[in-house]
Amino acid sequence: MSALPAIATSTRVTQSRAWKARISRVAGSVVVLYSLLLAGLYYAMLQPPETFARLMMHVGAAPFLLFPFESMWKHARGGRLQIGDIAPDFRLPLLDGSGSVELSSFHDSRPVVLIFGSYT
């Protein structure tokens, strides 16, 4: 009779350990999965705009909710140019077809504000 309480206690301890082990395995899997998705999202942010846009079309708003999207985006899309660098020169056509503009043509004349935008 006296052996019964000891067996019951031992069974409860074994079950508790089994649950803890199960929870640890699940938590570990979640951490690994989250890390892989985080790395995948960051990699996608480094891709050309069309590639990134195609991915975002399929995953919707989930990345904004699950990951530190803004911080990741600012880091991934930071770019190499720094304050004080020589601005890369370019010559691009005017949209109205009236000619083209070369950035360096404004040297020694006036500062230039570049407003880059995308409409799709």
Partner: protein, 95 residues
């Protein structure tokens, strides 16, 4: 994106310069843009040099050097932050 649907801005991503020009013309009309608008090549060469997609702001000084570079858009696209840098650049104009 939902904002595109709400604002009736639904275009297929352009794959040719002509398609890009059509989208850009629509943008200029709808947003009443008065400043000169330039069209990047379909190879996105200038966008890549400036890491500018989807939108970004820069100020280039008279000396050709970068004076201001915003954080990447859309989060970093804040025209109000241009003002002090632009005022400083203008104050350095001769005469």
């Amino acid at each position: 994106m939902q904002s595109n649907i709400k604002e009736h801005v639904i275009f297929r991503n352009p794959t040719t310069s002509q398609e890009r020009q059509d989208v850009a013309n629509s943008c200029v009309r709808k947003l009443h843009i008065k400043i000169p608008a330039l069209l990047d090549g379909i190879d996105n060469r200038v966008e890549q040099q400036y890491t500018a997609w989807p939108d970004r702001l820069f100020i280039i000084g008279r000396d050709g050097l970068m004076k201001y570079k915003s954080e990447p858009g859309p989060f970093g696209f804040d025209p109000k932050k241009l003002k002090p840098v632009l005022q400083d650049a203008i104050s350095r104009l001769p005469g």
